[in-house]
Amino acid sequence: MPLHVEHKQLVVPGELLAEGDYLPGDNTYMASGKIYSQRVGLAEVKGKKVSVVALKGPYIPKVGDLVIGQVVGITLGGWLVDINSPYTAILSVPDAIGKPFSPELGPLAKILSIGDTIIAKVIAFDRTRDPSLTIKGRGLGKMEGGVVVDLAPTKIPRLIGRKGSMITMIKKLTGCEIVVGQNGKVLIRGRNPKMVELVIGAIRMVEEQAHIPGLTDRIRAYIEQGKQG
């Protein structure tokens, strides 16, 4: 009996998941041939690999991640951006406006000021240095209007769904524009306030029920019911 948990079973740190010829996946560790969970989450068994999908946890940047951040400081060569992570991100002038800093630009606050919210991409991060961002590119830049909702960063994949199934469904049903930041921030824009409310409600459901199977169906029912009511 080398496997001690079922697929999707709720596990906690230190819980024995498997032993023998299984391989430790995400959020697990191996000690003397046994695989244990590191986090509160759902066990995932794929072939010989046992991992845990964490229910909560900090956002650690990865190169290529789309994030929604807030400008919290201005330095000589750029901006400091809070991306809901232990590491404050840096947006340097060339990555913001496509040309290097020169005094003719005038005060940087004219371009982005403290309190501004931006949609950005992580272009560098290696843990010895703080993450760098860019806002050059389609869909990136300073945000005007819309609502930002928080969701545990570990549950972002659930909101997106397999191959984007969940988020596509929510967009289709509500007609809202939704930008999902990997750092646990979701931007919603829509003309109909009621639809925006429904998206927020759906995100709350993901937050609460990410560990319970059948979530897509429940969210579909919730939105459809909400549209009628």
Binding site: G14, Y29, R39, V40, P58, I60, T88, T128, H211
Partner: protein, 252 residues
């Protein structure tokens, strides 16, 4: 004015609160009750009541105290002024400073702090009501709060004191047993390593008693460990139950 010392073990071998020597006090644990904290937990062990919040990993301030290869852990064990019979000054006492250190050292071995270099993880333990065993209950609750914060852990840490009262070894001492007893030995135990991350003792024990106390402490910690796992899961299982109940209602 000779005061007669109350017997701590009665003729039936029961303790002042009616417990058997190896019996824990009633324990209640709750996880995730503070909205602002990244993780939180509350424990009631007998009349001791403790709340713990964990923040982080978060940015280190001031930056120079950060470590290049791992997160630093900051830990504060603090007793509320109203937690004791006589008001306790809110300024940290020497006892609280020592306990903050050894509690930090009791929790550090299970934290994968190397995952978060240059950051810090804060553990705030507030004793709201003290009736003995607060450092142990604080450790038990703190490891729940760490798990609740989603911080990767090798295991949960369970803690419980073993002591000697009226010549007999007992677990999970209350305040009276701690003060009047002959020895008190707090132990924090990590089941995955079969190891102690906190061990202190004051009073007097023979070698034989000490070895027996270690075994009793381990058993008591394992009971608490089961409750910890339950408490962490309970929160999510409750939501699951209510969702499933809702679905059944709709189908009906």
């Amino acid at each position: 004015m000779e005061t007669v010392k109350r017997k701590l073990i009665d003729e039936n071998g029961l303790r002042v609160d009616g417990r058997r020597p190896d019996e824990l006090r009633p324990i209640k644990m709750k996880v995730g009750l503070l909205a602002n904290a990244d993780g939180s937990a509350y424990i009631e062990q007998g009349k001791s009541k403790i709340i713990v919040a964990v923040y982080g990993p978060r940015e280190v301030h001031p930056k120079h105290i950060g470590l290049p290869d791992r997160a630093i852990i900051r830990c504060r064990y603090h007793m509320a002024p109203f937690s004791t019979t006589e008001r306790k000054s809110p300024a940290p006492s020497r006892r609280e400073i020592e306990l903050s250190k050894i509690i930090r050292e009791a929790l550090e071995p299970v934290i994968f702090s190397e995952y978060y270099p240059r950051s810090m993880i804060d553990i705030f333990i507030e004793v709201l009501q003290s009736d003995g065993g607060t450092r142990c209950a604080g450790i038990t609750a703190a490891s729940l709060a760490l798990a609740d914060a989603g911080i990767p852990l090798k295991d949960l840490v369970a803690a419980c004191a073993v002591g000697k009262v009226d010549g007999q070894l007992v677990v999970d001492l209350n305040d009276e047993e701690d003060k009047e007893g002959e020895a008190d030995m707090p132990l924090a135990y990590i089941p995955a390593f079969n190891a102690a991350s906190l061990l202190q003792m004051d009073g007097q024990l023979t070698e034989e008693e000490f070895f027996k106390a270690l075994e009793m402490g381990k058993k008591a910690c394992l009971k608490i460990y089961e409750m910890q796992k339950q408490a962490l899961k309970e929160r999510y299982l409750k939501i699951k139950e209510s969702v499933e109940a809702g679905e059944e209602n709709q189908e009906a």
